[in-house]
């Protein structure tokens, strides 16, 4: 079951991100579904799963982006690993604790993009126009997804 979910995510998430999600953007900024998915995979599936799926989804994202071909691979793999670490070392994880984790991971990922030159010469504008709103969106979507998954896994642990 877990592998089927991973396969579905690997095949469907980036196409959804680059097509459907464009209609749901707020001020031109969309939540990074891959980031949310990878951190939750790390959280629920462990560090190894998070890192591997992060690298795979990041690679796919780089394929369909105009940016450098390594930024998403590395950032998403690190985010997957971080999700696994949080699950291992944080005692009581609730949506309230997941929110800052998601926002923080999104900010770190955004900083990596800025260092790679994605925002152009005007980095401060990029922070205001992309980095901060995306982090907030990722936080909201991440918490919602975490809540749904946490409720689901309470009932059926075999999915994990």
């Amino acid at each position: 079951m877990r592998h089927m979910v991973y396969l579905a995510l690997a095949l469907g998430l980036v196409p959804v991100q680059s097509t459907v999600l464009d209609h749901l953007s707020i001020a031109g900024v969309r939540p990074d579904l891959c980031l949310v998915a990878v951190s939750l995979i790390g959280f629920f599936g462990g560090m190894a799963d998070g890192m591997l799926m992060g690298a795979l989804l990041g690679f796919e994202q780089d394929l369909f982006s105009a940016g450098e071909a390594w930024v998403s691979v590395i950032t998403k793999a690190v985010i997957g690993l971080s999700g696994g670490l949080v699950a291992r070392y944080v005692a009581h994880v609730t949506p309230v604790t997941v929110a800052p984790m998601m926002v923080g991971l999104s900010l770190c990922s955004g900083m990596a993009f800025l260092f790679a030159g994605a925002g152009g010469p005007d980095a401060m504008t990029a922070v205001q126009a992309i980095l901060a709103p995306q982090a907030l969106l990722d936080g909201v979507v991440g918490v919602a997804a975490f809540w749904v998954l946490a409720e689901r896994f309470k009932k059926d642990d075999s999915l994990v």
Binding site: Q61, S65, A66, G117, G120
Partner: protein, 287 residues
């Protein structure tokens, strides 16, 4: 009792026969008489007639509205289904007509332009928020290569930055990482158009002595990049002159609506058909 009834009947019969004879013998005069007799009768008869008619209408209405509703409901559902089907068909046809018009215009543009182009469809947006990019459905197997320019009828769109066998990624001219050498069409002053945040572009390195004005069109210079000369880039909306600066800059509103990109042309050879180099006869004879 029986006798009196018989007498009355006879009198009535006699009166009736007289009346009929009168009608037969004097038709015009009898007509007035009949009308005079018939009017109150008609008025009296009209009362139950109206009552019956009203009842009939009400019963009929009741039947149509309530008793026969089942058939009407079925008919209604069928008509609704038909309307939905026809609406879907109309939407499809409108979409096809719009696509047909766009593609016809694109083909017409393709035929007019001296450059060789490949038509492509936009199938997605950049997978991250960090770049203004689009994904095209044409790639290396269609002759698309990195650094090729991408245009539409309206003007310059961007340049190809990544290619794969059957798809490619285009960095739009409104991305801060993109730069296109351009010139102001009226004054012929050259500069570089770069993207800015907010879906606009800025033309930099314009000479201080330029007499450009707001509203001047900006076109590609054709000197570098994959664009032919003269492709519209945008229109100048404001001009900035820095104190002590060596150049002027101008904000440019792009001609292309990047939120509605659907079909584009990838410029494979910006300066027309490139014929293969032909060796001279002397060179051929050389060993």
């Amino acid at each position: 009792m029986f006798r009196s009834t018989s007498v009355t009947r006879r009198v009535l019969l006699a009166l009736c026969a007289l009346l009929l004879s009168l009608v037969f013998v004097l038709p015009k005069q009898s007509h007035t008489l009949l009308q005079a007799i018939g009017r109150p009768l008609a008025d009296v008869v009209a009362i139950p007639l109206e009552l019956l008619s009203s009842t009939d209408r009400r019963v009929g209405s009741f039947w149509d509205r309530y008793v026969a509703l089942r058939r009407v409901q079925e008919e209604n559902e069928q008509l609704r289904r038909e309307i939905e089907f026809l609406r879907g068909q109309t939407a499809d046809l409108r979409e096809m007509a719009a696509a047909n018009q766009r593609l016809t215009e694109l083909l017409s543009f393709q035929a007019r332009t001296p450059s060789q182009t490949v038509a492509a469809r936009v199938i997605g947006r950049d997978a991250t928020n960090w770049y203004h990019g689009v994904v095209l459905d044409k790639g290396e197997q269609d002759g698309v290569r990195p650094e090729m320019g991408v245009v539409t009828l309206a003007g310059a769109v961007g340049r190809v930055v990544k290619t794969r066998a059957s798809s490619s990624v285009v960095l739009l001219i409104i991305d801060p990482n993109n730069a296109v050498t351009s010139l102001i069409q009226r004054t012929r002053d050259e500069g570089i158009v770069e993207g800015t945040f907010g879906g606009k572009a800025r033309m930099k390195y314009i000479p201080l002595l330029s007499t450009m004005r707001v509203g001047d069109p900006v076109v590609t210079s054709g000197l570098t990049g994959g664009f032919p000369k003269g492709v519209p880039v945008g229109t100048i909306t404001s001009i900035q002159k820095d104190e002590g600066g060596l150049f002027q800059s101008a904000e440019v509103r792009p001609e292309v609506d990047f939120t509605k990109l659907e079909e584009v042309l990838v410029v494979t050879t910006p300066r027309g058909t490139e014929e293969p180099p032909v060796a001279l006869p002397e060179e051929k004879s050389k060993p």
